[in-house]
Symmetry: D2
Subunit: 150 residues, 4 copies
């Protein structure tokens, strides 16, 4: 995967390690959430605001491929991009790198649907929040285009 | 602390360890919650039901004293008891033992207040849910009495 | 997926919920670990013992498909089975059900490799621990067979 | 508590919330670790390096006082200071503030002992790593002094 936006960077927390001496694999799912929401807050809309408008975006699928272990003391650059979006569903893809490395330590993806917070039924952003739909579609298309050119 | 009720027993999960090879200290706070809610569900009322009645019981204070390390493979017996209750506030005390040991591995306590879920303001159980108040007061007194006799 | 062994059953912990009011999706990765190690301890070998023999089994891939939300108060039946094993790598598959339901709430899988704890290089169980290899291969085959018959 | 050093600042992660809609109380114990290690890395020595020198600093006591709830979307300023140090034991104190507030949302402390990583027995930093002892003692005294003046 190629990168076309600002990474979310953070250091490993001690409590994220396990007795193998590495970051426990479940934490990468949490890191994907951190990276995705940082991306969402920066490029789309503040997620806390979106929830206050009655929309939630639960995760309906996760995929993780662990390439190299990450340990306490490491700084991780986390790239996210929207790889699919149709107003009802979205897919994000992630590539995590150790600060000075060219080969990714982790590749993952998450699938999402947009739900009404109250009814817990799917909502179409195109109808419910057309401006947000346009913005997210534009991010998606720009990221796709940049990726194709690389 | 002396025990006068059924312990909550469970095994350590691998993801609860850290790179020192022991259970990370933050997990004991989660274990106290598990033990407290098991005690609450068994002796007082099902906590999920209580929340559906509009009452929440957030934690306002925590105290932990780690005596011996606990590691993956260990089975932990967790004793809880109500050590203070006045209808508005409650304190729980906990003692955790490794299965075959007489000296505790951990001693802790948590302070709580009863809040209205919607207003987030304190509620007096004696007024709001008198039957529940009576039940909890009885548990508290019985546990105190048993403890004094020991 | 069909079940051919004893499920690992446990209740949702309060701290596993998030502000959507459901179990946070990252916890299912931890639940798969709990279910897998319960399966491993019961059918193959005690995992703590295996680590003390210098073998670790890190996760190299994870896949999650969330079908229905799980909430605090629910009891979850977690089925695990070995769906691939060749002595160097293994794949586990999982299906989680709410206690009284026939449709799964969650389907997932995890990929693993067997590593030497010290060198962190792959080991072939067939050479290093032939008895363990035979046992695990037998479990794998029995589970495959039972599954085909169903 | 008064502040005399740079705070560790970070945003709440979504996965740190619970179904009350607030940050789960157990996470503050993890935040204290983050804040303490940031303080330690900045003022004393890189903790990962210290562990590679065979010293670990487990937590032997925790105390938490939750003043105001913290929610997703909040930015938290976390102040740490060494409030006791004698070469064998240390105590850290913490005060967490929401970005624009003057009253703390949380006050806590953690007790620590210095152990040899291999033997798990106490070590006296004054003997084992005298330069580190001097540095940490100096930080402790400077922080105490600054605090008295305020």
């Amino acid at each position: 995967m190629l990168q076309n936006n600002t990474p979310y960077i953070r250091q490993v927390h001690y409590y994220e390690t396990d007795q193998m001496g590495i970051v426990h694999h479940s934490n990468y799912v949490r890191w994907m959430e951190e990276a995705r929401l940082a991306h969402f807050n920066q490029y789309v809309i503040n997620y806390a605001e979106l929830e206050s408008m009655g929309i939630i975006i639960p995760v309906v699928g996760v995929s993780c491929s662990y390439k190299k272990t990450i340990t306490y003391g490491d700084t991780v650059k986390m790239y996210s991009r929207i790889s699919y979006f149709n107003g009802v569903k979205a897919v994000y893809e992630y590539t995590f790198y150790l600060e000075d490395e060219k080969k990714p330590s982790f590749i993952g993806s998450t699938k999402h649907c947009f739900l009404d917070e109250r009814t817990r039924k799917p909502v179409n952003l195109k109808k419910r929040l057309p401006e947000l739909y346009d913005k997210m579609m534009q991010i998606f298309k720009t990221e796709e285009e940049t990726r194709r050119k690389l």
